[in-house]
């Protein structure tokens, strides 16, 4: 028998109590695992496809408001700007709006492909096809895999915003290519098609663009160029807000709110509650064992060794809950990343950093919850313990 055997046996002295405590800790780590991984995926998604010398110009009111098409040339003329492209949010879905929505942008193929060549990787033939086919669309590999799309196939892409003059809400598009990301973990769940194809057929919002992407001569000029762009459109009916691409992507992905803040608050609340529950229960559990601790000390177990065993019990309990919670959240995340909503975040799988942070948190939780009973066991005199029990 080792100290660990003894710790394990003591931990399961009252199985129901231990199971309930483990479930509480499991829930906290389940929340931690899922929310933290989502946040990490969000960070990763906003970083992928972002370049340090790129800015995004959008309507100052909100990026869902459009800007006149004429802005493109005016932005391109601003000193420090080396290239521009533009895109319109399409509200795209395939067949069923409830279950198959995805990111869809109407873009200017030539300028778009020039700027985003690395982020949307195509073969030369695919790129050429996209540039020349008016109804051409390039689709991300994840989406293509999900719906079984093939190059050359014509698919109906619908919009939950726009409609055509004939009343149809869908546009027939021919798949020119299937793109992959710069890294395997980059999300490839979007489609890009010709702005002109959309602009000529929609019943409202013509000659408007959603955002303009600007390439600057160097990142050092970003601030200066951004200020110049916004100053150029000050006091106009559509004032602009120009930010770096990463900031814009993050804001776009976080439309639901400040996820960092939400994650921190929810995880903190969960852990504070668990800390109270586990700590109180362990104190009461140790009180029940006062006499046994006295006996162990009488037999010759040193006070530091008893302290280590009590702390070990708390750490083992929290680690058990954490491993189950993190394991389950990893399983759920894998399932979620295959769902239409989850796939927009790219690779949702739990990163080693999140898993290790979770385990470190579990050890800390164990040490904190075990501190009070362990210190009380350390200080307890043998006579007091044997008389009290």
């Amino acid at each position: 028998m080792t100290d660990l055997d003894l710790v394990w046996k003591n931990l399961f002295r009252k199985p129901l109590r231990t199971i309930l405590l483990t479930v509480s800790i499991f829930m906290a780590f389940l929340i931690f695992g899922i929310l933290t991984s989502l946040n990490v995926a969000l960070d990763r998604a906003s970083e992928s496809g972002s370049a340090s010398n790129r800015l995004v110009v959008s309507n100052k009111i909100n990026f869902t408001q459009s800007m006149p098409y004429a802005y493109i040339n005016r932005v391109a003329a601003i000193p420090g700007v080396t290239a521009v492209t533009y895109q319109n949010w399409f509200g795209a879905y395939y067949q069923d709006q409830r279950t198959s929505r995805f990111v869809g942008f109407a873009v200017d193929p030539e300028t778009y492909m020039a700027i985003f060549r690395d982020e949307a990787r195509l073969t030369d033939a695919e790129r050429q096809a996209f540039l020349t086919e008016r109804t051409g669309v390039i689709v991300g590999k994840s989406l293509a895999d999900r719906y079984g799309w093939k190059v050359g196939q014509t698919i109906p892409i619908s919009s939950n915003i726009y409609s055509q003059a004939n009343g149809r809400r869908s546009w027939d598009m021919k798949i020119s290519g299937i793109f992959t990301g710069a890294k395997p973990t980059d999300p490839t769940t979007a489609i890009y098609f010709h702005y002109d194809y959309m602009n000529e057929t929609i019943t409202f919002g013509r000659d408007q663009v959603g955002t303009i992407t600007v390439v600057t001569a160097s990142p050092d000029q970003n601030d200066q160029v951004a200020k110049a762009i916004d100053a150029n459109f000050a006091n106009s009916p559509a004032e602009t807000s120009t930010v770096d691409e990463k900031t814009f992507s993050r804001a776009f992905l976080k439309q639901a709110g400040d996820l960092n803040f939400i994650v921190t608050m929810v995880v903190s609340a969960a852990f504070a509650a668990i800390l109270m529950i586990v700590s109180t229960t362990l104190v009461s559990a140790m009180r029940e064992r006062t006499k046994e601790i006295g006996v162990m000390k009488t037999l010759g177990f040193s006070s530091p060794r008893v302290l280590r065993m009590v702390l070990g019990e708390a750490v083992l309990l929290s680690s058990l809950g954490a491993v189950l919670g993190l394991g389950t959240s990893a399983f759920i995340l894998t399932g979620l990343s295959k769902s239409p909503v989850g796939s927009n975040f790219g690779d949702l799988s739990m990163s080693p950093v999140v898993a290790l942070s979770g385990l470190a948190l579990a050890v800390s939780l164990g040490l904190v919850t075990g501190a009070v009973p362990a210190l009380s066991a350390l200080r307890m005199s043998i006579i007091e313990a044997l008389n009290r029990g």
Binding site: L6, V295, K297, T298, L299, F301, I382, L386
Partner: protein, 227 residues
């Protein structure tokens, strides 16, 4: 015979609120190797305090406590814990076995403080349980054993690391007469056949008859010695 334990001019006072209660004011005691001493006396006479001092679970205010030629009253907590593990076997009135461990595991507890191999530990546990006649109950948990059997397991735990000295606090106080006599017989056997030095606190004159001598303690002073 040589002295195993010697108490010289031991003083012990307890504080209860603002009041100081003197338990011993210069107690002297010598226990020889291989002795079996019963300590009797009314409640409050200092029996338990004496047992705590002899077992190194409490400290005297002054005076000397020697064990096998070694002065232990100056030991720190860690040294005392090590000394207890090496030298003393404890037998309590209410057995004090760990409910989550079976009989063999309970007996093995003191061996966790040694550097013996797992095989040697198992052999020692088997020997100890065979001595008390409970090897066939090795896998039973305390709640599956009778009071007498639990006390036998406690005795096996006390002797498993082969200490010279056994301290028994009312070892038969919770048992019926026949079972008590069995337990006392086992202690007597350990004393006579294995040379264990035993100090036993008891209220029971029948139990005291199993000892080689009885010391009567009253108000912190040995009043009478019965051979």
């Amino acid at each position: 015979m040589s002295a195993l334990i010697q108490l010289k001019n031991v003083k012990k006072t307890y504080k209860r609120g603002k009041e100081s209660i003197t338990i011993f004011d210069g107690l002297n005691l010598t226990i020889e190797q291989g002795d079996f001493v019963a300590i009797m006396g009314p409640s409050g006479s200092g029996k338990t305090t004496l047992l705590n001092l002899l077992g190194g679970t409490d400290r005297s205010d002054s005076g000397e406590i020697n064990f096998d030629g070694e002065r232990i009253d100056g030991y720190n907590e860690g040294q005392l814990a090590g000394w207890r593990a090496r030298s003393v076997g404890f037998i309590f009135q209410f057995y004090n076995l760990m409910p989550v461990l079976n009989a063999a595991q309970n007996v093995e507890l003191p061996l966790m403080l040694t550097k013996l191999s797992a095989g040697k530990r198992r052999a020692n546990v088997e020997t100890a349980l065979k001595i008390v006649g409970l090897w066939d109950r090795a896998k039973h948990r305390p709640k599956e054993l009778s009071g007498g059997q639990q006390q036998r397991v406690a005795i096996a735990r006390a002797i498993v690391s082969d200490p010279k000295f056994l301290l028994c606090d009312e070892p038969t106080g919770d048992l019926d007469r026949n079972t008590a006599n069995d337990i006392l017989g086992t202690l007597q056997q350990l004393n006579q056949e294995m040379g264990k030095t035993i100090v036993m606190v008891t209220h029971d004159p029948e139990a005291a008859r199993f000892a080689k001598r009885t010391l009567h303690l009253d108000k912190g002073v040995f009043a009478e010695v019965t051979q």
